[in-house]
Each structure stands twice: as C-alpha cells, then as structure tokens.
Amino acid sequence: MKIREGFIIREVAGSFVVVAVGSAAKEFGGIINLNETGAFLWKALEKGATAEELVSKLLEEYEVDEATARADVDAFVKKLQENQLVK
C-alpha cells in the first residue's frame, strides 16, 4: 500500500495537514487534518508499507498494545481507502 502521487504532508501551526498538488489538485480540493499518529502512519505509507508493517512501526514508536495498534491502523487505512488516497 502506498499513498497516491500528488499528496504532500506538512506541519503548519502545530498540526499536520495534507493537500493535493499538481494534477492531483484538479480532483482533490480538500484539506486533510491528521493527528500525530495519523501523520506517523501517513509518512510510513509515503514510502509504502503493508498493514502488518504499519502495526509493527506503531508498536516500535508508541506505548500501545497490539490490539489498539491494529485497530488504529485498520481504521486509518479504511479512511484513506474511502477517500482514494492510497493505492
């Protein structure tokens, strides 16, 4: 799984924001606000990762149990898929 081309993540005024640039901007005019965990997962997905890899990364980086990490990853990936942000 990888974030589709044409989306950039930036930190602005204390929050993480994703916008579309280039040709992606023609279809996607929205602004996505991510919290810290969301930004962490997003950046991992920019390089490409499986759901399993995302869960491992979360467990490495944050103090969280596996069930929660898995649930968070699933919910996040689902949101991205619903909005056609990953391929």
Binding site: V12, A13, G14, V19, G29
Partner: protein, 239 residues
C-alpha cells in the same frame, strides 16, 4: 501602461479593458520606485477565470480584473510573503481587525455594526479581498481595489491585532481559538496554489500568522450586542 502600488508592491499592468483601469485608479502610482513586475492580461487569463466556479456569469472585463488580482497575489505569495485573505478588514485606532467566514455568513454586516458603533474611529481597509503580508516580523493588512459589493476600501495598511472567525448563532459569544482550529478556516478563504513550492510559501505564512496573531471565534446573531462583545474581546476596550 498604468502603474500601480498595491500591498506596497509597485507593478505595471497591461489591461485590455477600461473597467480594470477605473477599478484600480485609487492605487495608481507615479512615484520613483521601479516596478517589480508587469502583469499582462491575456484572453487565456480571462478564459481561466471564466472556467472558475461561477465564472461564466461574468463579463470579460470583470474577469480581467480578477485575473489581474490573481497575478498580483501570485507575486505576493512567491516573493513578498503575503496572501489574499477573504475577509472584512477594519482599522480602529490604527490597529486592524479581520472578520473571516465563508461568503454570506455576515462578515460585512458585522464590520458595519462596528462602523455604526465607532463612527470615524473606524476605517475600512478592505471589505472583501485584502492582502495580508508578513513584513519585518509583523502582519499587515493592505487595502486593495477588490473591495466587495459595498465598495469599501482604503489605500492604506494597518498592523493586524486580531482575526475573528464568524459563525451564525442564536446567542452571541466569543472565545479564543487555537491555531489548528483557525487553519482550516483560513485555508478556505485564500487562494490554494497547486505547485508544491507555492504551497510551502503559503504554509510558511500561515504558520507565522496563526502563531503570532490572537485568534477568535464569534458566534453571533445580527445585533449591536454582538458587535459590543466582539469589540470588547478583540480590543480589550469597553465601547
């Protein structure tokens, strides 16, 4: 070739229509400073404005004036650390207060309540499309000729003291809000570039703006009381 000074930027324009020249006449410049760029408006620029939402309803001469504004804003974003900020901007005792919200919410109405309350102490910097710039560590709001349907602007600038998001409500209440809360509001009231480097310019400016200027949200009905409440909170003064 008319020369203008808007938002402290001197530039030449090559318009096709008299409408544009008339619109900008209060900003004509005849000083010694050299122009920073030339804005030549082409039919392609006008067609691009026509392709924008609702653009097909407007005549070419009006769209030309929008195209000129877009070129100026692009220059200011790229070179002068500024953005267009769709808002009603007023100055009281030399300090500027900006009311922002989607069109139709009531920015101009609220600004007018302040005007009725404060009379000559209040000056309209721009009631619709001011430019704001980060200059020497402070944010200034500038008058522009694109001044809204009531034609309210002044060729002047003032330091921004506070920004307020307006929301329609039943009761009047004002509260401070965080940069995160205001970020999405502001991003919807400015031009969103599609090039990465321009987006980075925009975010640089927004980061500075939202972390240095006091931010408020006002829920209001259209009443004098709403104006008194926002004035007291944003200026720290009693009316």
């Amino acid at each position: 070739m008319p020369r203008y000074k808007i938002a402290d930027v001197v530039f030449d324009a090559v318009p096709m229509y008299k409408y544009t020249v008339k619109l900008c006449e209060n900003y004509a410049y005849s000083g010694d400073a050299q122009p920073e760029f030339t804005a030549a408006i082409t039919q392609a620029d006008i067609d691009a404005e026509k392709a924008q939402e609702g653009g097909e309803n407007f005549p070419d001469y009006y769209l030309e004036s929008l195209a000129l504004f877009r070129k100026l804003c692009d220059y200011v974003l790229t070179k002068r650390q500024g953005i267009i900020f769709h808002s009603s901007a007023v100055a009281v005792d030399g300090k500027a207060y900006l009311f922002t919200a989607p069109s139709g919410t009531g920015k101009s109405t609220h600004a007018r309540l302040w005007k009725e309350m404060l009379g000559d102490r209040l000056v309209y910097i721009n009631d619709d499309k001011p430019i704001i710039r980060w200059v020497d560590g402070d944010f200034y709001v500038y008058g522009t000729p694109w001044n809204g349907k009531h034609r309210l602007d002044t060729n002047a600038r003032a330091k921004i003291a506070a920004i307020c998001e307006l929301k329609r409500g039943v009761k009047n209440s004002i509260s401070k809000i965080s940069p995160q809360e205001m970020l999405l509001v502001v991003m919807n009231q400015t031009i969103r570039p599609s090039e990465t480097d321009k987006v980075d310019n925009l975010f640089f400016i927004l980061d500075k703006l939202l972390t240095t200027v006091p931010l408020y949200r006002l829920e209001c009905n259209v009443s004098e009381e709403a104006a008194k409440i926002s004035y007291a909170a944003m200026t720290g003064n009693k009316i």
